[in-house]
């Protein structure tokens, strides 16, 4: 239940009503005052004051001053007339209710309208700001363009001026030179006359031809040219400087590269390392490291180095069982067989190695040379010298600079020639 504030005092003039409402000790905020054109309400819970006004007022212009424990209202009348009382008499509850609702509605509408008006003005302000910034930027751009244009014009002017200068200078020079030429011709004529009296006949001849050769454009330069030639040093004595080039390993110049083949070789190598032969049943009792072909290859190499060729062969055999795509295994086994004089086996292994060493790329050059050499040696030891020579020559083709291969090839050639002579 609200507590009604009844003590209020008011006075009026023709155009305004002054209402003062004491609100001792209460905190009044602008939100607690609600006013429409017919209805005034002050609500500071639990206190309440309301008045249904006698006549409509101009609520937009009316003011309320809050201070000194009172609220002082200045309400401007819509119609200038004297009111009988501040509020309407015989205000029954329903009417009051109606009026209240109307007032609230009106206030709402007003608020809405105000909000919209605000929005519109805000938009307009934004637009204005945007246009202003655009103008500024435009001005800046124009300024820069103008500067550039000015610079351009200045430079073209300078260029024109310079061109003109060149032309003028050229013209002047031509005139000058013609004058000089005239002079020189006359000088020469005088000199000729002098020389006639002396015995220098050949010189005369040449000076005559010089005169005859004068025609058109470059003639005046002849004199200065001939003089200058005597000052120039003689042409250099010819010599040759030999040069070497730094070799290019991978990557090579694109047109020389064997990219496709090198890729293939790399792929093959990768595959070879991955393959593991299927038959693992016998190998189950081997230790883990013994199943690694690489490890076995190393073991084989070590045993070869110490001279234990049979053991090396065993190691390589096991490795081949595990992975029959590694060319190096066959290559090394071939070397072992050579030492053990199992020549046919050596040939077999070298051939298998060579098969696996395709495509031929710089990477597997060394391996291929070794394979050819070993096979060649095996052939020779079997006295199949022609086949042996073939292999040695193949090795030589890959590496022409290897002296040992060359020497051996020579030896074989001699042997062949020796045997053919015999038979």
């Amino acid at each position: 239940m609200p507590v009604w504030l009844r003590e209020h005092s008011w006075r009026q003039t023709a155009s305004a009503v002054y209402l003062s409402l004491p609100v001792r000790g209460l905190r009044v905020t602008p939100g607690s005052i609600f006013c429409t054109d017919r209805y005034l309400k002050v609500s500071i819970p639990p206190f309440l004051f309301e008045a249904v006004l006698y006549a409509p007022i101009d609520d937009t212009n009316s003011t309320a001053k809050i201070g000194n424990g009172t609220i002082f209202f200045t309400l401007y009348k819509k119609e200038a007339a004297m009111w009988d009382s501040l509020t309407l008499a015989n205000a029954n509850k329903e009417k009051l209710q109606c009026v209240r609702e109307n007032a609230v509605l009106k206030a709402h509408e007003k608020a809405k309208e105000e909000a919209e008006a605000k929005k519109v003005t805000k938009q307009e302000h934004k637009k204005y700001a945007l246009e202003a910034t655009m103008k500024l930027e435009e001005a800046e751009r124009k300024r820069i363009e103008d500067l550039k244009e000015k610079e351009r014009q200045k430079v073209t002017k300078e260029l024109e001026l310079w061109k003109k200068q060149q032309e003028d200078a050229a013209k002047q020079k031509r005139v000058q030179k013609e004058g000089e030429l005239h002079q020189e011709v006359e000088q020469l004529k005088e000199r000729k006359k002098e020389k006639m009296n002396k015995t220098r006949v050949p010189n005369e001849g040449t000076s005559k031809t010089r005169l005859k050769a004068t025609k058109g454009h470059g003639s005046y330069s002849m004199f200065s040219e001939n003089l200058k030639e005597e000052q120039l040093p003689a042409p250099r004595s010819a010599a040759t400087i030999k040069i070497n080039f730094t070799s290019r390993v991978f990557p090579t110049a694109l047109r020389e590269s064997r990219v496709a083949e090198e890729e293939e070789w790399l792929r093959k190598q990768a595959e070879a390392r991955r393959t593991v032969s299927a038959d693992l049943s016998e190998l189950e009792d081997l230790k883990e490291e013994e199943k690694n072909p690489e490890w076995l290859k190393d073991k084989g190499n070590k045993m070869f180095a110490t001279g234990n060729y049979l053991a090396a062969v065993n190691a390589y055999n096991l490795a081949v069982q595990l992975n029959n795509k590694l060319p190096l295994l066959y290559l090394n086994r071939a070397a072992c067989h050579l030492k053990l004089r199992n020549l046919h086996k050596a040939i077999e292994d070298s051939s298998k190695a060579l098969e696996l060493l395709t495509p031929p790329v710089p990477d597997n050059k060394n391996a291929r040379i070794k394979a050819y050499v070993r096979r060649g040696t095996a052939f020779c030891q079997l006295e199949l010298y022609t086949e042996g020579l073939q292999d040695y020559e193949a090795a030589l083709k890959i590496d022409p600079k290897n002296k040992t291969i060359e020497k051996d090839a020579e030896k074989i050639r001699h042997l062949i020639q020796g045997t053919t002579e015999d038979s």
Binding site: P235, R236, S237, A238, T240, K242, F245, T246
Partner: protein, 301 residues
């Protein structure tokens, strides 16, 4: 202003006015067939000098001793795809005065560019040659020997000394993959050679470098993406210092980009400055246009 059109049987690759006097103005050209010809442009039917200098296309040509610049005999150097660099004297027919060729049995590499330098008196001359495997070789013509060589990994498209007619000062070498190196040529270390600074400028090949005739520390590079870059070289505080054994070693300075512009989508393969007007330059590109440009404010650099 189109003045004249002269057509010859074989396509021409390169040309220079460098070895001719200002009055004669003979134009020396190298063509696709390996012939070196010197033409009098007023009477272009028959060349003034002609020789089949190389077995394959002459990639690059340079001349020295003419145009009133420098001293000594006029000479022309040509670099060819057959891997040789030959120096010719227009007064000597048929045989070159110097021939830099690979040793017997060595696989040859294309020579892509040549340049003269160090021609400060009548005897001294050097020729610098760049090859497609990244080799740069410096030949001394007075002693007829190889003075220095190095390898910059990518094929060398263009070399130029900053001035042909002074004691060699700087050498710029440009290469594939947008790199160029500036070598300080005043101090040669017995093992390390010349000091250098390198820049990676454009993503594409740098086709040519040319120094401004009026200021030898400014040079322009032209690129495969149709762009021109203008650079300035700054010298270090001390151009040479002593290394641990007391031998003199050069110190390279720094290079800064002044300006760049993209003119075309095609490579700009050739570029030259005017010797008279500062900043006037001409360039030719693969899009079949010749462009004349002017660079301003070079006084203020």
């Amino acid at each position: 202003l189109f003045l004249k059109k002269i057509e010859k049987a074989k396509p021409l690759k390169c040309g220079t006015f460098g070895a001719t006097s200002l009055q004669q103005r003979y134009f020396a050209t190298g063509d696709f067939g390996g012939n070196l010809n010197i033409w009098n442009l007023e009477a272009p039917e028959i060349p003034v000098y002609s020789v089949k200098g190389h077995k394959e296309i002459i990639n690059s040509i340079d001349g020295v001793g003419g145009l009133g610049i420098g001293e000594g005999a006029p000479e022309i150097v040509t670099g060819s795809r057959d891997g040789t660099v030959k120096v010719w004297d227009p007064r000597q027919k048929d045989t070159p005065v110097a021939n830099m060729e690979p040793v017997q049995g060595e696989s040859k590499r294309d020579c892509w560019t040549v340049a003269f330098g160090n021609a400060y008196n009548q005897e001294e001359r050097v020729v610098c040659a760049g090859y497609d495997n990244g080799d740069i070789k410096l030949f001394d013509l007075k002693t007829m020997s190889l003075r220095w060589e190095t390898n910059i990994k990518n094929g060398v498209c263009s070399v130029e000394f900053d001035r042909k007619d002074v004691n060699m000062n700087k050498l710029v070498a440009t290469s594939l993959e947008g790199k160029f190196h500036v070598f300080d040529m005043r101090t040669q270390h017995p093992t390390k050679g010349f000091a250098s600074v390198s820049e990676k400028a454009q993503k594409s090949t740098i086709w040519q470098v040319r120094h401004l005739p009026q200021n030898r520390d400014i040079f322009m590079t032209s690129g495969g993406a149709g762009s021109l870059h203008l650079w300035k070289y700054e010298y270090p505080a001390q151009r040479s210092k002593k290394d641990s054994e007391g031998a003199e070693m050069g110190v390279a300075g720094s290079v800064s980009l002044l300006q760049n512009v993209t003119l075309s989508t095609q490579p700009i393969s050739s570029l030259d400055w005017s010797p008279d007007k500062k900043g006037l330059c001409v360039c030719g590109a693969f899009d079949q246009t010749v462009r004349v440009l002017i660079v301003t404010k070079l006084n203020k650099v």
